[in-house]
Each structure stands twice: as structure tokens, then as C-alpha cells.
Symmetry: C2
Subunit: 116 residues, 2 copies
DNA sequence: CATACTAGTTTGCAACACAAACTTTAGATC
DNA sequence: GATCTAAAGTTTGTGTTGCAAACTAGTATG
């Protein structure tokens, strides 16, 4: 099944990018977290985290809720239903692809790439 | 251990990028494969595969061996020792991070991100 | 009033992923 | 032997990305 590698090379970049993978994974455990918390958690810069979150919001994976705590602004993040499914299935896909690639045999594919 | 997410967001992009993850994973099973074989395997375009391979070579993860088969040029790819270690440890790291994140508890970290 | 801090957002830039166009050599056709 | 097609890659052009530095807006402090 050579299709394994096609699926590997076609992984969803919105989810796969390391910083976003970290944010989504954290939120999948956390349920909700605020901006400053994610900042410390991931070690990203403010600007960087901000743009990643915008992308996740644009993709419909994360819900952004702005509010005030005392007199200070506070941005609360949570996965949408779609986001939950996305991160969960991304990890599952990685597991599967890894497992499949292990038991894949090049010789079983019609055209081999030389063993010299 | 919040460090899990720092490590997640700091994954090596050279290895993590989907197309290259596919190529490296295939080569780790294959030992050697030629350009056209990887092309079919991954479903990438020629140009795209070529530049990804150049990057992997520049990073010292892949060895490129050009030769002729009959009268036709043929490019043979294989992991370097460094490449073997890189792909193997990348998958292992993903496994670990995934597992760690599962048993991570937000509440255990000093500052919580709101559960409202 | 000014100065500093907090909580983000916007901007500018270098690096990237991708396909289209190009290169080079070989074989087929006239 | 000139012309065409194909194979096997590489280079180029372009839109996108990831990133930190610079900016913004509101609050607190001297």
C-alpha cells in the first residue's frame, strides 16, 4: 500500500505545524485556556502565538472569546467541535501512518526503487 | 510538566514537513530508492520532490547518488546515518509528546488558564 | 503629566512550498 | 542529419508562511 506515503505527504498543514499542534493538543486537554497561559506553555513569542491563533480561528478550529478580568483584557481560547475532531484525527492519522509504514514492504509495490 | 508543549512547538521543521516526513519514512524502510520511485510513492510533483530532496541533502539527512542506468540518468537516494537517527527520533518524539500530553494536567501547572 | 506595564495585534522580512518552465540526453521518424 | 517526442531532473517565479520587532490601547504608578 503505497498510498500510506501519499497520505503522509498530504497531512493538513494547519494542524500539523508544530506551534499549532502544540496549541491544539494543549486545548484538547485543557478545554479552555487564556492567551498568556498558552504563551508560557508553548514558549512562543506573543506575535507568533497571536498569528497562529488567528489562523486557527480562521480555519474554524478555535473559538476566541475576549472579555475583561477586573479591568484587564483577557483572551480565552477553546477548541470548536471541528477543532476537537481535527486534532484528535490528526494524531490518530499520525499513529496509523507510522504503524503502516513500518509494515510496508517496498518489494510489494509494483516497481521497486533499486536495492543494488 | 509544561515543557511537553515547548518541545512540541519546537519540532524540527526539516523533518516534520509532511512531504519530507514521507520521504524520510519511506527511505527508512527502503534503505535506497530512486527519484522516480519516490515520485510515485509520495504523489509529489517533480519540482517539489527535487527541492525537498535538496533540502534534506543540505541538512545532511540524505545522500544523493547520481548514476546512469543503461543510458539514462538515475538518482539514487538513501538516508545518512544522521538521517536515520533524525527520522527515528522524530517519530519517537511525536509518540512521547502525544503520550505525555494525554497525562498532563493543566491544574498541575502553577498558573491555570481559567476553567470558568 | 509622564512613565511604565500588561495584553495583545500589525508589520516587514526572510524562508518556504509549489508548479510551470527550462535543460539535457536519448531514442524514434522522416 | 534535421525534427520530434520522451525521460529525468533542476531552476525560476510566485504566493504563503513563520517569526520577532514595532506598534496599540488601556491601566497603574510616581
Amino acid at each position: 500500500m503505497t498510498e500510506v506515503f501519499e497520505r503522509l505527504s498530504g497531512l493538513d498543514r494547519l494542524v500539523h505545524e508544530p506551534a499549532r499542534l502544540a496549541v491544539l493538543t494543549a486545548l484538547s486537554v485543557c478545554r479552555k485556556a487564556d492567551f498568556m497561559y498558552l504563551l508560557r506553555l508553548t514558549g512562543l513569542s506573543r506575535g507568533n502565538l497571536s498569528t497562529h491563533l488567528s489562523k486557527l480561528e480562521a480555519g474554524g478550529l478555535v473559538r476566541v472569546e475576549k472579555r475583561f478580568v477586573g479591568r484587564k483584557p483577557n483572551t480565552l481560547l477553546a477548541l470548536t467541535r471541528k477543532g476537537e475532531r481535527a486534532i484528535e484525527s490528526h494524531w490518530r492519522r499520525l499513529d496509523e501512518l507510522r504503524a503502516d509504514s513500518r509494515q510496508w514492504s517496498p518489494a510489494a509495490d509494483e516497481k521497486k526503487g533499486e536495492s543494488e
